[in-house]
Amino acid sequence: MTADIRELISKHGNLSVDVATLADEADLYAAGLSSFASVQLMLSIEDAFDIEFPDRMLNRRSFASIAAIQACVDELTADRKAA
């Protein structure tokens, strides 16, 4: 489920550890996600899932863990799945 997001993190997150070793709930900032990398990650997720993060989601919390990112993506693609 989180495979796509994990791949994007490994490509854009510039983490100090291997993404594969991280649990879904692990703190990405503690794993080395910088402010700039989190922006690149945000853009790559928008492109990959064809979504646009609303301002209310543009905060550190939304990108704090793989699970948090997945929750944002799920919410923004929910309409699409229903239809």
């Binding site: 402010s35 700039f36 989190s38 922006v39 690149q40 945000m42 853009l43 928008e46 993060f53 301002d55 543009l58 905060n59 550190r60």
Partner: protein, 304 residues
Amino acid sequence: MDQQASLLDKLFATGLLVETGVQGLYGRSGVFEDVIARFDALVSRLGAFQKAEVLRFPPAMPRAWFERSGYLKSFPNLAGTVHAFCGNDQDHAALLECVAAGDDWTGGQKATDIVLTPAACYPLYPVIARRGALPEGGVTFDLQSYCFRREPSSEPTRQQLFRMREYVRSGTPEQVQAFREEWMDLGQKLIAMVGLPFTVDVANDPFFGRAGRMMKMTQREQALKFELLVPVNSEENPTACLSFNYHQDHFGKTWGIETADGAVAHTACVGFGLERVALALFRHHGLDVTEWPAPVREALWGTE
């Protein structure tokens, strides 16, 4: 909008600012410059206790430093690069023909190794870095420069070429955060001394594009930037006259600045928008400086 136009019109009419036909590019009168100089000196008196090292750069910096600074990631739309003619006699003749015909003559201009300074502290960081590790107590610098930002506007408070005075601190996170705290307090005292109404609020830089949306939010979320705002153009949209910025390890990492014990140095700065303060003074105390309230005159000119 009318009020904005009329403040600028009044400044032109009294000759305090001199119109050039380009928005945000103005000449200044002797009186205007005197107000800037007096306020600049007041900042120096208030900041003297820091024994900051004074450095002055021309309003331009090496393109290589500019590229490494990361400015293009965040504000590509505001940068101004210096281009110059690099051709031969033939190219010169072609250029003059274009000028005479009113055609575009700038196509052959080539980028030089110089970029206009976007903020007074940008040329400082590489200079700090090449001196080696910081001393135990960190360092404090005193800067002032004309800065360029490509944002034409009819608001006199948004000029394309304007002066920024800065104190910059580099050291441990604790040292630079204490510096910013202290200046948030001193900045309010300073503006109260010159009789201006103000508020202080958390703020963000005008980061560019989609990526910028998130950078704005995270900058606010982490309270990295505060501004001291004075109503100049309107009450609803007060003007940032001072800003208090904590860069965390951004410049330390970018330039390899190290603290005495080898950690990545943090930096913070307080910036004073000199034209903006002068405009706020003219807006609140009137266009005739001899009529300004006595305490304000005393703060700026002393008891002469």
